[in-house]
């Protein structure tokens, strides 16, 4: 790439890391046992 006439070299030190953090892998939620069917309460 041609960038033309160059100027004085400078130093750039970002206060924050410019590289995004890797998002943690989400673990799939464990499958739940279906709750036992409740009999309707007779009143």
């Amino acid at each position: 790439m041609e960038i033309g006439k160059e100027k004085k070299k400078i130093t750039v030190e970002p206060l924050e890391d410019p590289v995004p953090r890797r998002e943690p892998e989400r673990e799939p939620e464990p499958e739940r046992e279906p709750e036992p069917r409740r009999e309707p309460v007779k009143t």
Partner: protein, 145 residues
């Protein structure tokens, strides 16, 4: 210890090659891969830290979108297509008339052609950056991070 000249990365424009086969990854046009979630580091086989004054080493980027388009880096090839976008540059940096040479870089926002949304999704997941689908370069705003 010397004081830095800037404490925020420079935002510039560049293009990357993405091969049509295999998992989508960004590459410089010289074939150097841009690692996901790690800064891209310029290398030079001479005895100085890139970018060297009077050398041609360093990560190259254009100062703005019109300059990048004028330089013609957005064209497609047979085995690859070009993804343009903004790049954060830092470390040692040489500003120039139309762009920069830098020591470190990482993509900021990528613009991927509409025809390949699956590539856009893969790049967003892989690099953790914003990815937009856009074919009309004229509609992409110049001022973006």
């Amino acid at each position: 210890m010397s004081q830095p000249d800037l404490v925020r990365p420079i935002i510039a424009w560049r293009a990357w090659a993405v091969h049509r086969k295999g998992p989508p990854r960004l590459e410089s046009f010289n074939g150097a891969p841009w690692p996901p979630h790690h800064r891209m580091e310029a290398r030079c086989n001479k005895s100085h830290e890139p970018p060297g004054v009077g050398c041609r080493c360093g990560l190259y980027a254009a100062k703005d979108k019109p300059t990048l388009i004028e330089l013609g880096y957005q064209h497609y090839g047979d085995a690859w297509f070009a993804v343009i976008g903004t790049v954060k540059l830092w470390g040692g940096l040489i500003p120039a008339e139309w762009g920069y040479r830098a020591e470190y870089g990482y993509p900021a926002t990528l613009h991927v052609p509409y025809e390949i949304p699956d590539v856009a999704i893969a790049l967003r997941r892989t690099y953790g950056v914003r990815v937009r689908l856009s074919n009309n370069l004229a509609l992409i705003p110049n001022e973006e991070e």
